[in-house]
């Protein structure tokens, strides 16, 4: 018997649980979908695994690794469905969680409500102690106040406790002593201390992150136990990992103690896939563009690395851990086009969603949507059922679009064209702003289009951004789950040891800081078998001019020690990046290195070879009409399944497949790569 070892990716979405599996010996791939079981997602997970075993004829022991992306933590935070949680702070500061940064998210809305702080005031406790800004102990941890808090916690019924003391990022002694006391006294109550999660100042953001972590611990522990039970005997040989917001994977042990790391787990899978497809096709800089029914998710990958942000917000609550930056825009196929009171044309943010859905779904929707417009323009062919089963009603789409066309004195086609233009302009603006935050120029990127609507808009959006290349993956519908297959295990370590570039021995001090990070990493990873073997290290410094609030993340590479040459390079790179981002740099001015970061990555198991293109089906194509910028053009309509590597698709064209449709406007080139992915190139800037 040939021993095969499968790697499996499972992505649980709102409707479907997607599974992608690959045999590391033969390279065979398998894609499947089962319905998500929202009440207990572990059931859908298990069904997907069982279906795989059946279809591939696998025995227990042949599934080596399962990588799992889940929106469980995100949804729990947004819906505030978490266990009763308490917060313990330094005396005088129990309200920092509620006061927050006291700025409002909308300037004009008098009905605004501030987000619920997750821990009510009766469950926020204080202990007497104080550590100063220079890490010195000003008042020791008062034993009597600790006893009193423990007593109150014991009768409070909470399942989890977050511990956040002032200045613990610099001196965690009190916080750790307190956490130990709580763990010893509170039995099965989960305890999370801020210094175990992050070592960066800003008390509110650290408190928010820690409270979310504590509140998620019971939920995630329970979920992982269910998954482990569901895997049963397979669990002995199958190693399970969860997708971390930072783009790496977390072992179940790590996920149990740091579940807030799952806050962005869902969209990260798709970002992974973008990294891999960029690698396979030779595009290290890509923008992931995942457009669905209600929203479009945008992610940046530069030099093969997803852009991280330290400013993740979930359900209005900040999470200050490095996370893959995914920007969600309220623009999707279901976005509704409307006229305001003075007949100005607007699109969104209202969405017809899946129910009633666009007018053309024939499910009672009568407002014109982006999907209706794509149908009218011939970019979604009427006779090709959506997702294989949903027939589209062109007349209903026209009726809906006529309601905005007539008051504007436009034909239905002109109005539809306009709606597409407006929705694309909205996405363009949002992408430009996010690129500016990171100091990037869109022209250096390729666009990867996935999700149901991504490939319909991608080429025109790329043109607006002066992006020359669009990649449409072979399987846009299960693209996210594919990325999970290649997951690595990754841990981030950060330290705040501020130092100025002009201080004496700056290079040596930076060297020491990285030495300290190595010690912290070694201690935390000592018992982790994944890190017993070869690991890769990346290091980064967060650098700014004195007095700035935001740092620029500058990579630093060295072996052994940071010498003066390495240090000077870091400083020069900082000035360069600053100039690119904000249009100026002060090269004579010293800068400040605020935070040092170490990312340790270990690969687990055998990696899969890049997938070959699918076996091809029958070639099938015909001619049809498509409307493009007011002109009716003759265009090619072709089935994706019949395309072979090397095939050219002559623009304009519409490429059909079950889970996505690609529109290739005139004036560009398109061909099928050896990987089976569709490459659209030579896109002229609009």
């Amino acid at each position: 018997m040939t021993v095969s070892l499968w790697r499996v990716g499972i992505d649980i979405g709102g409707t479907f649980t997607d599974l992608v599996a690959g045999d590391t010996v033969t390279g065979e791939r398998l894609h499947l979908k089962v319905l998500t079981t929202p009440g207990n997602p572990a059931e859908g997970f298990l069904e997907a695994v069982n279906t795989l075993k059946q279809r591939a004829g696998l025995d227990a022991g042949e599934i080596g690794f399962i990588f799992h992306g889940t929106t469980l933590a995100t949804n729990a935070i947004i819906q505030r469905r978490v266990a009763p949680t308490a917060l313990v702070t330094t005396e005088g500061f129990r309200d920092i969680l509620e006061i927050g940064r006291h700025w409002r998210t909308d300037l004009y809305d008098l009905d605004l409500e501030r987000p619920d702080p997750l821990v009510g005031r009766t469950l926020r406790f204080e202990v007497a102690e104080r550590i100063g800004a220079d890490q010195e102990v000003i008042a020791g941890l008062d034993a009597a106040s600790v006893d009193s808090v423990i007593e109150q916690l014991q009768s409070s019924g909470v399942k989890a406790v977050a511990v956040v003391l002032l200045h613990s990022y610099g001196n965690p002694a009190h916080e750790q002593e307190l956490a130990e006391r709580l763990r010893a006294s509170l039995g099965d109550v989960y305890v999370s201390a801020s210094s175990e999660l992050t070592r960066e100042p800003r008390e509110f953001e650290r408190a928010s992150t820690t409270v979310l972590n504590a509140a998620l611990m019971p939920l995630i522990d329970d979920y992982l136990s269910k998954l482990e039970a569901a895997l049963g005997d397979d669990g002995e040989t199958t190693r399970l990992y969860l997708t971390h917001s930072n783009g790496g994977a977390l072992s179940p042990e790590a996920a149990r103690s740091r579940p807030v790391g799952l806050a962005q787990s869902g969209p990260v899978a798709g970002v992974h896939s973008c990294v891999r497809i960029g690698e396979a096709l030779g595009y290290p800089n890509v923008i992931g563009f995942d457009m669905g029914g209600t929203s479009a998710d945008i992610a940046l990958i530069e030099g093969g690395q997803p852009r991280l942000t330290n400013e993740l917000d979930v359900g209005g609550l900040p999470v200050r851990l490095p996370s893959v930056h995914v920007l969600s825009i309220g623009a999707g196929g279901g976005s509704v086009a409307w006229l305001d009171a003075v007949n100005a044309l607007r699109v969104g943010p209202d969405s017809a969603g899946a129910a009633p859905g666009p007018a053309c779904y024939g499910r009672g929707g009568d407002r014109p949507t982006v999907t209706d417009c794509n149908l009218i323009l011939g970019r979604l062919p009427a006779e090709h059922p959506l997702a294989g089963f949903l027939s589209l009603d062109l007349d209903a789409a026209k009726r809906a679009v006529r309601t905005i066309a007539e008051p504007l004195g436009l034909s239905v086609e002109e109005a539809a064209d306009g709606v597409i233009e407006v929705v694309n302009a909205g996405m363009e603006g949002a992408i430009r702003v996010v690129l500016r935050e990171h100091g990037n120029d869109p022209r250096d990127f390729a666009l990867v289009a996935f999700g149901g609507a991504g490939a319909l808009h991608a080429v025109e959006l790329a043109a607006r951004l002066a992006i020359g290349t669009v990649i449409v993956p072979q399987h846009p519908g299960t693209f996210s789950a594919q990325g999970l297959l290649a997951s690595d295990v990754r841990h981030d370590f950060g330290l705040s040891q501020p130092l100025r570039s002009d201080e004496p021995d700056a290079a040596a001090k930076l060297s020491e800081a990285f030495g300290e990070l190595e010690r912290i990493a070694a201690e935390q990873l000592a018992d982790d078998p994944d890190f017993a073997r070869d690991v890769t290290r990346e290091r980064r410094c967060e650098v700014r001019y004195l007095g700035q609030a935001y740092e620029v993340g500058v990579p630093i590479e060295f072996n052994g020690e940071v010498d003066q040459t390495v240090f000077d390079r870091l400083v020069a790179d900082f000035h360069d990046q600053h100039e690119r981002a904000y249009a100026f740099a002060n090269r004579d001015e010293p800068c400040e290195i605020r935070i040092q970061r170490l990312f340790v990555t270990a690969t687990v198991g055998e990696q899969l070879a890049a997938a070959d293109a699918d076996e091809v089906g029958e070639r099938s194509s015909r001619r049809d009409r498509v409307v493009y910028h007011g002109e009716e053009l003759d265009c090619l309509v072709v089935d994706r399944s019949g395309l072979r590597p090397g095939d050219e698709v002559v623009a304009p064209a519409v490429v059909l497949q079950e889970d996505a449709t690609t529109f290739i406007p005139p004036g560009v080139r398109a061909h099928v790569a050896a990987t089976g992915d569709l490459l659209i190139t030579d896109i002229p800037p609009a």
Binding site: G92, F93, D95, I96, E98, I99, R101, H102, W103, R104, D106, L107, Y108, D109, L110, L112, E113, R114, G120, R121, T122, R130, G132, A133, I138, L166, Y169, P201, R202, E203, E205, D340, A341, V342, A344, L345, R346, L408, G418, E421, V422, A425, G426, E428, G429, R432, V433, R436, Y545, L546, G547, Q548, A549, Y550, H578, A581, Y582, A583, F584, N586
Partner: protein
């Protein structure tokens, strides 16, 4: 008096609008994205906490007449605030045909359309093929521009000459090359020049970003279509604003309120407004408001107008795409020489005392016209305080803070606790950073019990902050509503007044709201308590459940609950 609805730009031959609705909307997205990118670049690269944490800056794009077309507003009091300065500059100082490509113009002069001296504005023209198409502008509130008080808050200033370095409209960078004289003159006149000059640099650099973004739009649509689209955008907003105004009942709606005093003369300052609604116009008349004060709380006309615009937009049209079209139907009557339109050389640095009160009275008056949108008064002041200590080398170390308070109760719910409201919007400074940068220790930062005005829907809570000084320092402040609390509405009680006190050697002394350079010694404590919002509706109608919830959470005390809500049994 009824004004004709604006006519859109139309092609003389066909009569069709030159800019179609699609291009108009697409250009709007492009302009907003341009202003946002300018703002992002300032926020990310600025040095002083005023800009980076308090977000006290704005960026905007203007048409060639100086009318605002798109703005990234981080703070409402900046709404349309650059317009008056830019238009004054174009009219009285530098007509458009004297502007060259890349030139950067600058001013902070409250008597040339500005608001107060710390707000420095910079402008630059976008030129395509030798033809001007638009103007970019950025405004930053700078940490210090000199004058008699740190942060340029001279609470006892009686003339603008004492308030800092005044920049009359001038060309600071011909062709984009910064004239070194400008920084040479400014630098020695201000505290902490390193941070301020660096922030100015970030502000100036953002103009380049704005210009590049506008150029891209012009490249795509052509200058004529781009400019026609801007005109159409403005016309659309004006037309929409007029429709909304038309839907209000005809009549005159009045309100009045008080400012504690100007910090010098302890005289209450009355603020009165009468809003006449006639057809599609609103006339906002401040006749009867106090004469300009000796102390620096006067609001220059630009500040008064911005707060009127904000108060009206937030009540009537929170979602309207905001540009100068929205403001055309609104006429502000502010008698010259009054506290809402002072004449030179009245001091103005504390103009936010007035702009908040203007917002309070306009909200109150419009509440009578539109009862379902009415709100009780929010805390109503930018509670500024400034601490100054000396660094080891003798240079000043300045900490600038603004505290907020509670929102007013609303027809269907309580006011928010301790959240930015009205004409400003800002972040607090993280305590862990403040303690690094200034020799003090924060001992308490909490919600202030019983501060929300009682009512069917109570006002939100103010805050309580206790500071301990680690070194000798000076304390200055610009508080208001220390005497006159935020009023309730429809039978609701007023919120708590603000309070500042100092504890020295165990003895607590209450300070007035506005003080300059009060001496503190190491070990002293400063206790700051901010205003709660006014209550909405009679307290007797508050539900027992809501009262008990507040009690359980310590948001109200047993004594206060018993006296405010006798209908609820309290254990």
């Amino acid at each position: 008096m009824t004004t004709e609805l604006p006519t859109p730009v139309r092609d003389s031959a066909s009569g069709a609008p030159l800019a179609d609705p699609v291009t108009v909307e697409v250009v709007r997205y492009g302009l907003v994205a341009a202003a946002e990118q300018m703002a992002t670049s300032i926020e990310r690269s600025a040095r002083s906490q005023v800009i980076r944490e308090m977000l006290d800056y704005s960026t905007a794009l203007f048409d060639l007449q100086g009318g605002i077309v798109a703005q990234s507003t981080r703070i409402p009091v900046h709404l349309n605030s650059m317009t008056r300065a830019l238009q004054t500059m174009l009219r009285d100082h530098f007509p458009l045909d004297s502007w060259g490509e890349g030139d950067i113009y600058c001013t902070n002069d409250p008597y040339a359309g500005g608001q107060h001296l710390p707000d420095i504005m910079t402008f630059s023209l976008v030129v395509v093929d030798g033809e001007p198409v638009a103007i970019c502008g950025s405004l930053g509130h700078h940490l210090d521009v000199g004058g008699r008080g740190p942060g340029s808050y001279g609470a006892d200033a009686t003339e603008i000459y004492q308030e800092g370095f005044r920049i009359s409209p001038c060309l600071i960078a011909p062709g984009g090359e910064l004239n070194p004289l400008f920084f040479q003159l400014l630098g020695p006149n201000i505290r902490v020049p390193v941070k301020t000059l660096a922030d100015l640099q970030a502000q100036i650099a953002s103009l380049d970003i704005g210009r590049a973004e506008v150029l891209r739009l012009v490249d795509r649509y052509g200058a004529d279509l781009f400019m026609a689209a801007m005109t159409e955008l403005v016309n659309n907003s004006e037309q929409r604003m007029r429709q909304i105004i038309a839907s209000l009942p005809d009549g005159t709606f009045t309100a009045d309120d008080w400012v504690d005093g100007d910090g010098l003369d302890d005289e209450p300052v009355p603020v009165k407004v009468a809003i006449h609604k006639d057809g599609t116009d609103l006339v906002v008349d401040f006749s009867g408001t106090a004469e300009q004060t000796r102390g620096p709380i006067n609001a220059p006309l630009a500040a008064t107008e911005s707060s009127v615009y904000f108060a009206i937009l937030s009540m009537l049209a929170p979602d309207l795409s905001s540009n100068h079209g929205c403001y055309k139907p609104i006429k502000v009557i502010a008698p010259p020489g009054s506290v809402v339109n002072p004449v030179e050389p009245a001091p103005v640095v504390g103009r936010n005392v007035l702009t908040h009160r203007i917002t309070n009275v306009v909200h109150a008056a419009l509440g009578d016209a539109l009862p379902e949108r009415a709100v009780a008064a929010y805390y109503g002041n930018s509670n500024v305080y400034i601490l100054q200590a000396k660094e080891e080398d003798g240079t000043p170390n300045v900490l600038f803070e603004i505290e907020v308070g509670g929102w007013g109760g609303r027809p269907d719910r309580d006011g928010n606790e301790c959240l930015s409201a009205g004409i400003h919007n800002l972040m607090n400074n993280p305590i862990e950073l403040v303690e690094h940068e200034f020799p003090l220790r924060v001992m308490e930062y909490s919600l202030r019990a019983d501060s929300g005005g009682a009512g069917r829907h109570r006002g939100g809570m103010g805050i309580r902050r206790v500071l301990e000084l680690l070194e000798d320092s000076e304390f200055s402040s610009q508080f208001d509503r220390v005497k006159f609390p935020p009023p309730g509405r429809d039978g609701g009680e007023p919120g708590a007044t603000a309070r500042i006190s100092v504890i020295h050697d165990g003895v607590e002394t209450e300070l007035p709201g506005k003080v300059l350079a009060y001496r503190l010694t190491a070990g002293d404590r400063v206790v700051i308590e901010t205003q709660g919002g006014g209550g909405f509706g009679p307290p007797s109608q508050r539900s027992a459940q809501a009262v008990r919830h507040d009690l359980a959470e310590g948001r109200t005390t047993v004594g206060a609950a018993r006296s405010n809500y006798p209908h609820v049994e309290v254990k």
